[in-house]
C-alpha cells in the first residue's frame, strides 16, 4: 500500500510520491459503472462511448491523483457481449519502480468493456 498524505510529510521533500494504483483502480471502476450501466452495444455510438470513458478516466486521474509528473495513456476496449474469444496483452519498456498499469473490466448482457491505464512517470 502506498503512503497516504500524512506519512509523506515525514519523507524528504525531494522524494517522489509513489503512484497509488489501488486508488486509481477504484476511479476506473467508478467511471466504467457510471458511463456504461444501462448502455447497449450500438455500432455507431461505440466510438463516442469509448472516447468518453477514456477521457473521463484521464480527467479524473489527473485531477484526483494530482501528481504532475505522470502521463496517462488509457485504452478502452468495448466488445459486443456475444461469446467471441479475445485476448489482450501488453509489454512495456519503462521504469518498474515509477510506472504502473491499472486495469478494470465492466460486463453486462450487452457489452464487455476493458479499460487499461498506463501511468508513465516523467522526470
Amino acid at each position: 500500500m502506498t503512503a497516504p498524505n500524512g506519512d509523506s510529510a515525514a519523507a524528504p521533500p525531494a522524494q517522489r510520491q509513489r503512484f497509488d494504483a489501488a486508488a486509481a483502480r477504484r476511479v476506473l471502476g467508478e467511471v466504467l459503472r457510471s458511463e456504461l450501466a444501462n448502455t447497449r452495444y450500438e455500432a455507431d455510438e461505440v466510438a463516442q462511448l469509448g472516447k468518453r470513458v477514456g477521457e473521463t478516466i484521464n480527467r479524473r486521474l489527473s485531477g484526483e491523483m494530482a501528481l504532475e509528473q505522470y502521463k496517462y495513456v488509457t485504452s478502452v476496449s468495448i466488445f459486443q457481449n456475444s461469446g467471441q474469444g479475445a485476448r489482450m496483452g501488453t509489454s512495456a519498456i519503462w521504469d518498474p519502480d515509477a510506472d504502473a498499469v491499472v486495469q478494470d473490466m465492466f460486463v453486462s448482457d450487452s457489452i464487455k468493456c476493458v479499460a487499461v491505464v498506463f501511468v508513465v512517470c516523467v522526470y
Binding site: 477514456g54 495513456v73 485504452s75 466488445f79 459486443q80 501488453t90 509489454s91 519498456i93 519503462w94 498506463f118
Partner: protein
C-alpha cells in the same frame, strides 16, 4: 581531401542511437512484421491465441526497444479478437505531450480474427 578532413566527415556522419529519432513509419513496419511473422496459418484457436498474442507483442517491443532513444519509454498492446458478427471498438485517450509523444497502430484482419497492435512512445 586531406586525412584530417576525411576523419571529420566520418565522425559527423555517424549518429548515436540515443540521438536518432524514431519515425512512425519505422515503428509501423515493426508492428506489421510482428504480425506477419507470428500469424502462422492465420486461424483462430482459443488455446493458441495466448501464444500468438505473446509472440507478436514480444517481437514488436524487442524491435522497437533496440532502436528507440534511451529517454523514450515504450508500451506495446496487442489485442486478438475472434472474427464473428459481433462488433468491438478500441479507443485511446491520451493525457500526454503531443509534441514529443506518439502512438502507432497496426490493424490486421482475416476471416478468422482481428488483430489490433498499438505502440505508445512516451518521452520522459
Amino acid at each position: 581531401m586531406d586525412p584530417q578532413q576525411q576523419q571529420q566527415q566520418q565522425t559527423t556522419a555517424t549518429a548515436t542511437p540515443s540521438q536518432k529519432q524514431l519515425s512512425k513509419d519505422e515503428v509501423h513496419k515493426f508492428l506489421k512484421s510482428a504480425v506477419d511473422l507470428a500469424i502462422g496459418s492465420g486461424e483462430y484457436h482459443h488455446r493458441a491465441v495466448s501464444e500468438l498474442q505473446n509472440n507478436i507483442t514480444q517481437y514488436a517491443i524487442k524491435k522497437i526497444g533496440a532502436v528507440k532513444p534511451a529517454s523514450t519509454k515504450c508500451v506495446v498492446t496487442c489485442t486478438v479478437v475472434q472474427n464473428t458478427d459481433a462488433g468491438f471498438h478500441i479507443t485511446n485517450a491520451l493525457h500526454w505531450d503531443d509534441s514529443c509523444d506518439t502512438v502507432v497502430t497496426y490493424n490486421f484482419q482475416n476471416k478468422a480474427m482481428n488483430i489490433v497492435l498499438t505502440a505508445y512512445l512516451i518521452t520522459t
